[in-house]
Structures are given as structure tokens and as C-alpha cells.
Symmetry: C2
Subunit: 309 residues, 2 copies
Amino acid sequence: MDLPPEKIIQSIDWRYLRDALTPEEAFDRLVNSQENRAEQEHRVIQKGVKAYSTAGWLGLTDQQILQTIEEVKASGLDCFKMKVGGGIDFDRKRMAFLRDAIGTDALLMTDANQLWGVDEAIDYMKQLAEFRPHWIEEPTARDDVFGFQRIAEALQPLGIGVATGEQVPSPVIFKQMLMQQAIQFCQIDATRLAGVQDVLAVILMADKFGIPVCPHGGGIGLCNMIVHYALWDQICVSGPSRGQLVEYLNFLQDGVFLNPVAMKDGAYQTPAAAGWGLEMEEEFVRDHTYPTGSVWQGREASGSITFVA
Amino acid sequence: MDLPPEKIIQSIDWRYLRDALTPEEAFDRLVNSQENRAEQEHRVIQKGVKAYSTAGWLGLTDQQILQTIEEVKASGLDCFKMKVGGGIDFDRKRMAFLRDAIGTDALLMTDANQLWGVDEAIDYMKQLAEFRPHWIEEPTARDDVFGFQRIAEALQPLGIGVATGEQVPSPVIFKQMLMQQAIQFCQIDATRLAGVQDVLAVILMADKFGIPVCPHGGGIGLCNMIVHYALWDQICVSGPSRGQLVEYLNFLQDGVFLNPVAMKDGAYQTPAAAGWGLEMEEEFVRDHTYPTGSVWQGREASGSITFVA
């Protein structure tokens, strides 16, 4: 957080990014954002970064979804995501159900996990528009910039934004998505790109093109990591008022990590421990070590391969 | 070669490709191209598929380049590629030298191996335009479709085409490159994509958008494989008259493969053996097996790791 702007700039590989953002411009933007730094830092650390969670998993029953919504609400969250792509009739019914359950004003996001082609995505989402999805996430292949651009243009009049990033394989794809306004929400992932410096580059580009950074969480440890990127974005780069939403899932925290992420009033609490917060509980590691751990007992492979501890 | 059109279409994953080419349209195109099939097959098998080779490797001296050109010419080839990016003064001097050595009429291609950013590529190539490069290969990052589009537009008035593909990571990137005319030469690779069906899809899309398929060769065995794709393209899909050029490098063939690729009058001879032609000589395999082979003797790792045969 306190790394000076010149060190940030030096850490990034600018070779393919200069047509979107030059290191000089990025440096100036970072320096300018320091003007409000103390105030922004105080405000963000006090409030934390706003979170959302998925309530509408495809495999859940209606009753299980209601229960999940209650759990999510108990943490103070008021924005919810659902998976789509289960067939238009099923999705319309489920989305009506979810919209009813969360109320008219709550944000409701949709996620297709790259299930559709470009035209298919547009047709499909038009049929879900009446339930006012805030965004459609991964409507098509992760690297189809022109496809995303077409989808974004088609859905813009309906008030539906396009989100992607959890599987975007390079900063160059992010660059194009941002320059072309092919996405309205930039979902950086903590581990998909080549390293921290690539993620910083994407956050800086998103800032320039006015696209809110809404990090992807989920897999074990991801939420612990993304809160740090979100804090850097909202304190040092674009500020907290772009409508950023950070994904949160309430599993694999307590009993797993020494410093589990904490949610309060619908926001990630700012971690106090040094580092990513990925150190695991000794007991959890012992139980999950293959093949000696307790969770592996009775699960040995049935083939001829044997493992020796 | 004799797989019927319906089987080809069934083998391809169309999910993300339909906005460029539908399976129905691809089927019709394949059926239509069968009208001239017998004649095309006869002509292509007689003549082989036209090849080009690299003479201007960055590490070579002028004298070595002249020698390489002579070797390449001895196989009947009349198109030559050179690496660029060694600095504009060096490249201008070397390109003048190569143009002089191969003559005014020979095609001369350039290859930057993704060295540049977008604007840098445009500026650089403008300074090489007077030597009439046929194409610039990989001017920037492999997945920068918008970048390639800008480069192609800027270089089109200078008569320089843009080529890429050897590192394109998905058919979706190829789709965009082809739909947007961001490349003028489609360099499929035999092993980069997920499999044969993805390469067939790219060849079919290139055909629709009128872009010649110029496969990438080089690494061990690649030339043996790409000749099959080139033959399929030129016999069953787009025909032989699009200006296709197939990369050829005269190393790692004799003494390596049981059925080395053969060059005659500047064209790949059509392989007669079944399969990809990748079966290796027993002696070559024995000599290169680690760590017992003769090429590894005296090259043991100096650390503490030991290998047991």
C-alpha cells in the first residue's frame, strides 16, 4: 500500500500496454490520487470494501436458495449473484423467484460461466432483462473481445452491464476489453495472470477507462487475496466511489485460515495481519495432507498405484 | 483427406465460432469445394504445396546469410524470411543486404516475434517499407486483436500484410483476427491449439474470410505435420491459388524421421506414408534418450539430483 508510485511503475511490463496507458501517465495518475490518500485510506479502512455473494447456485432448491439469501443477508450483504444458463424457462422462473426474495432495490447479478456464443448471449439476456440484472458475467469465451463488445453494445440500452476477468488469460486481453468498453465491470483474479505486477497493470488501466474493479473470489484463499487488491484500488488508485463490488463466499475460512476474512455490514473488514492471509491452520493441513490425512482415509485409489508417505 | 464434410463439421466445437461461421455454412462450403476436388487434388499432389524458408536469422553474419540463401535456393525456394527487431539501423542495413541478395522479385518476409508494442510496430515497419516486405509476422502480442487491426490498417497502404498464429492461444482469437481482417496471413500451428479439430475450424474460417493459410513450421516435427494441414486446405477447402506459403526449415529431418519431409522445386512433396510422419529413427531416439543416450554423456547435472536409468 505504501510502495511509492515510481516503484509500482517500474514493476510493470509495459511492452504491450502503452497504447492504452503509458508509464508516465500511470505515474501521474498515481501521484494525483495521493492528494486524497489520507482521507480515502481512513474512509476505506473504516468501512471496508463492499462485497456481494452468490445465492443462486444452479444445484440448489428454492428452499436452499432462500436459506442462502438469509445467510448472506446476516453478514450485511445486499447484492446477490445467480448462475444462469440452465435453460431460459428455468432461468426466468428462478430469476423471478430471486428478485422477489431479495426485493426490488437489491442488485442482482447473473453469471453464465462462458456457456454461450455471442448471438446466443444477446438473445438470452434480452429475455432476462425484465428482472433487471446488474451485470451478466462471462456471457461468452473469455478472450472474445469483439464478442464482448457486441454483447455490451446490445445490452447497454437494457441497463445490463457486462463483467468478465476470472479466466482472462493476459493483461493484453484486459487492455482491449477496457479500451473498447467491452466490459463494464473488471473482474481481476488474484492468481490467473502471471503475477502481482500484471494485476496492478490491469487495475491502473481500469482506472483510466473508468471501469470499476470487481475482483473475482471463490476458490480456496482467493477472497483472502483479492481484498488486498481491492484496498489498493480503492485507496491508492480509483477511490471507493466507482461502484466496486468484491466477490465474497462464506466457505473455507474458519478452521482453514489463521486469519479468515471478516465481513461486517456487507463489507470486507480490512485485514490487520501482514501478508496475503493465506497461512493455514495446522490441523487443517494435517487433515488434508495426502495420503495420511483423516479426510483421505477410506478413499484410497482403487487402481494399482500406491503412495508411500 | 477423405473424411466426409459431415464428419468434419461434427468434429468441431462450434460454441464460440458461430458468429463467424455456422456449421451449416461450413458444410455447404466444403460440399461446394468438392466440385473441383479431383482436379485440385491432382494438381496439388503433382506440384506439392509452395514453401518458404528463413534465411535472415539474427545471429548470422552476412556471409552465413548468403550461404543460407544458396542452400534454400538449391531446394528451389524463392521466398525468404528474416528476423527483425535488432534495432532499426541494423535491420535496415540487413534488409537492404537481403533484398539485394535475393533480387527484386523474390518475396521477402519479416518476423518480429512479438517484440513490439502496437505503435512501435507501426513506426518500425514504416521505416522498412522501402525494402517491400511481403508481411510482418508477430509484430505485437499474440492476442492483441485490436492492436493487430490497427497495425494492419496502418501498413495496408504500404503493401505490407500482417501475419500471425504460431502462438495464438485459441480459435476464438483466430476468429476475431479473421473477422476483423486484422491479419492477411493465417499462420496455423500444428500443436498450439487444443487439437486437430480446432485447426480445422481455423482453416474453415480463414477460407470464409479469404485469408490464405500459411502454416508455421520450425520446431522438431512441425514441418512434417503442417504439410498435411496445408494439403487439406489446398485440396478440400480453399484451393491452391490464395498465395499460401508453408514454412520450411531444412534441419532435424534426415537421420531423425523415418519419413523426412521432401522439398522439390520449392514445394513440399506430398507424403506417401500414412500418419503424421513423426516416427523417429531408432538410433536417433537411442542417442537422445536421457540420461543413457550418447548426446547426454559428459553433460550430467552438477547438482545433487541423480537419475537412475
